[in-house]
């Protein structure tokens, strides 16, 4: 029996190896052709893990990102602004949903990801750990944060993993509305009363550096970048995207009649790239490590919402089960 067993095992292993080899060959061919991998396809473990990490972090960011803007829905200073802000936050919840669905196609259920988030074991974009103290932050978040998200996400529309790329196409369309509404808020403030203009400038000053840091650490310290690029998940390095973003906002800020809090921004004719001042990566790492101004508050809110909703989800499950049972009997 023992021999039979081990023989059986050996055969299965050989089969597995063969499948893996064929899978790897197919995967390599797809990547080389810059085509798309779909959920049932064979993929390397590392590829799957990288995608789960990236997509779930992105989903969490959408969900946590509802909080700083949700903070101003009740106080929006005109009904039109209130409606636009409400719609925007609602879109972000939708983005969270598509991204969790994309992650689920990789075999990880949404509630597992949610549990990781509320246990403080998952990351989300550090930008949402900064407080939204003034109405102008609604403008600066839309303009800079959604703006940086667009720079990051447009290339992701071509990501090699099909469900992720397709989710990004949909998300990006909405993000451009978000950026525009943020820009409009700032434009209105910048052309308003002196107090409004000051509010706008303060918000831009506060969010400029955190927005630049949204692209992740400098290329020299970026742990995952090169492999992600080889897999056609990432198309440009963190620094390349950051430079592109600076080039965009440096023009737009002129239209606003505001300034960026960075005297070192310049276009380098030789490299053809935008340069900017030193960023405080120690602060970035502090916030990333959970010691930012709002980390605890954001996670507490998410945890409370989840815990307070447990009885509702249980009711829905029980109701569905009971209904299915009755239908079976009938």
């Amino acid at each position: 029996m023992a021999t039979q067993d081990s023989d059986h095992h050996a055969v299965a292993n050989a089969d597995g190896d063969e499948t893996a080899a064929a899978g790897q060959a197919y995967f390599d061919k797809i990547i080389a052709a810059d085509s798309r991998i779909e959920p049932p396809d064979w993929m390397p473990d590392g590829y799957r893990k990288t995608l789960i990490r990236q997509i779930s972090q992105h989903a969490h960011s959408e969900v946590i990102g509802m909080q700083p803007e949700g903070n101003w829905i009740g106080r929006a200073p005109s009904l039109k602004r209130k409606a636009i802000l409400m719609a925007k936050v609602q879109d972000e919840a939708g983005h969270g949903l598509y991204l969790y669905s994309a992650a689920e196609t990789l075999g990880i259920p949404r509630d597992v990801l949610n549990d990781q988030l509320i246990a403080g074991k998952a990351r989300y974009s550090s930008i949402f750990n900064y407080p939204a103290r003034s109405w102008a932050d609604m403008g600066a978040i839309g303009w800079l944060v959604d703006g940086a998200a667009i720079c990051n996400q447009v290339p992701l529309c071509r990501a090699s993993f099909g469900p992720y790329g397709r989710a990004m196409v949909r998300v990006c369309k909405e993000e451009s509305f978000h950026q525009r509404q943020g820009f409009e808020i700032l434009l209105e403030l910048a052309n308003g009363t002196p107090a409004q203009k000051q509010m706008a400038q303060d918000a831009v000053d506060g969010l400029y550096a955190p927005a630049l840091m949204m692209f992740g650490p400098p290329d020299s310290d970026s742990a995952h970048s090169s492999q992600s690029m080889a897999w056609n998940i990432k198309r440009f390095s963190n620094d390349e995207l950051r430079q592109r973003f600076v080039g965009m906002i440096v023009e737009q800020v002129k239209v606003l009649g505001l300034t960026l809090p960075d005297d070192d921004i310049r276009f380098n004719e030789e490299t053809g790239k935008w340069e900017y001042g030193e960023l405080d990566w120690d602060e970035f790492n502090e916030v990333l490590a959970g010691r930012g101004p709002c980390n605890a508050q954001r996670l507490t809110r998410r945890r409370e919402a989840h815990e307070n909703g447990a009885w509702v989800r249980e009711a829905a499950t029980a109701y569905a089960a009971e209904k299915a049972k009755r239908e079976q009997v009938a």
Partner: protein
């Protein structure tokens, strides 16, 4: 693995309530011709004249929608499931749209904008019903309030589409389609909560108990209504249909209708519960810090 069980269920309840829940909320739907801006534009251009009484009536409808939208906005990022964050904010957004249209129209009688009316009226100038001012409480209490308000508004707008006042009729026609979804959302949840678990049933019963005293005010007639024959809908005339619909839903949910004494009311003439002052304090604070500013 509870998501395997709950997600489709919750998604169904929500999907029914919001149509395409995945549709972008910031995209302007083609064919949504009647926007608050269009009404404000017509009013400002003088192409629509708004009689005082009609304006006072529009203000009631607008205030109910506005205060409820303000209440529901709180749920964003606090709902039991991501799908409900979307559903509740979608309902709030619809209500805010109705409020903006009604207030823009009402303002025409007094040379005021929707924002003048929303942000620079005092508490005693608001004419919302006490029901919409009541706290969100837990999800069941919010759903109980939604059940009553959406049922009432559905019956109301369904009749108001025949108003002799063309603008009220047009706003109602658009609102009616949206309120239809709100009603279904509340109905789906009442069933799930009432028939789900013991705990959810206890909470649903409690939520309804807290809501019943505020229903009577919605159906009160007064002199304004008397003066608007053919233009306004007489609230008392909706009561039979309302009772019939609610009784049906509660029977399906295996719940009883409780006979409870009515709360004081008075919202239509500016006498509010203690809650409204706090709601307005939050809503108006920034606008009032910068009088005359535009946003």
């Amino acid at each position: 693995m509870s998501s395997v069980g709950t997600t489709p269920v919750v998604a169904t309840a929500m999907g029914a309530a919001t149509g395409d829940a995945m549709a972008s909320a910031t995209r302007i739907t083609p064919g949504n011709a009647l926007r608050p801006e269009d009404i404000a534009g017509k009013v400002a251009a003088g192409s629509v004249v708004v009689p005082q009484d009609v304006a006072s009536y529009a203000l009631r409808l607008g205030d109910d929608a506005l205060i409820l939208a303000q209440r529901l906005g709180w749920w964003v990022s606090r709902a039991p499931e991501l799908e409900e964050d979307i559903a509740l904010s979608n309902i709030a957004l619809d209500l805010l749209g109705h409020a903006r249209s009604f207030l823009s129209y009402a303002g025409g009688a007094w040379g005021k904008t929707e924002d003048d009316l929303a942000y620079f009226r005092g508490e005693d100038e608001f004419c919302s019903a006490h029901l919409v001012e009541q706290p969100n409480g837990d999800f069941a209490r919010t759903i109980a309030r939604q059940l009553v308000v959406s049922t009432f508004q559905h019956l109301l707008y369904n009749r108001l589409v025949d108003s002799q006042d063309a603008t009220l009729a047009a706003i109602s026609a658009k609102a009616l389609k949206e309120v239809d979804y709100h009603q279904d959302h509340a109905y789906q949840w009442v069933l799930r909560l009432a028939l789900g678990t013991q705990e959810s049933r206890r909470r649903m019963v409690n939520g309804l108990d807290l809501t019943w005293p505020y229903i009577a005010e919605l159906f009160d007639d007064d002199e304004l209504i008397d003066r608007l024959e053919g233009i306004a809908v007489r609230p008392s005339s909706l009561r039979v249909a309302y009772d019939c619909r609610i009784t049906q839903i509660l029977a399906e949910a295996e719940l009883d209708v409780q006979e409870v004494p009515r709360a004081a009311g008075g919202g239509r003439s500016g006498r509010h519960s203690e809650y409204l002052g706090h709601i307005l304090a939050e809503m108006q604070v920034l606008a009032r810090e910068h009088p005359g500013a535009t946003w």
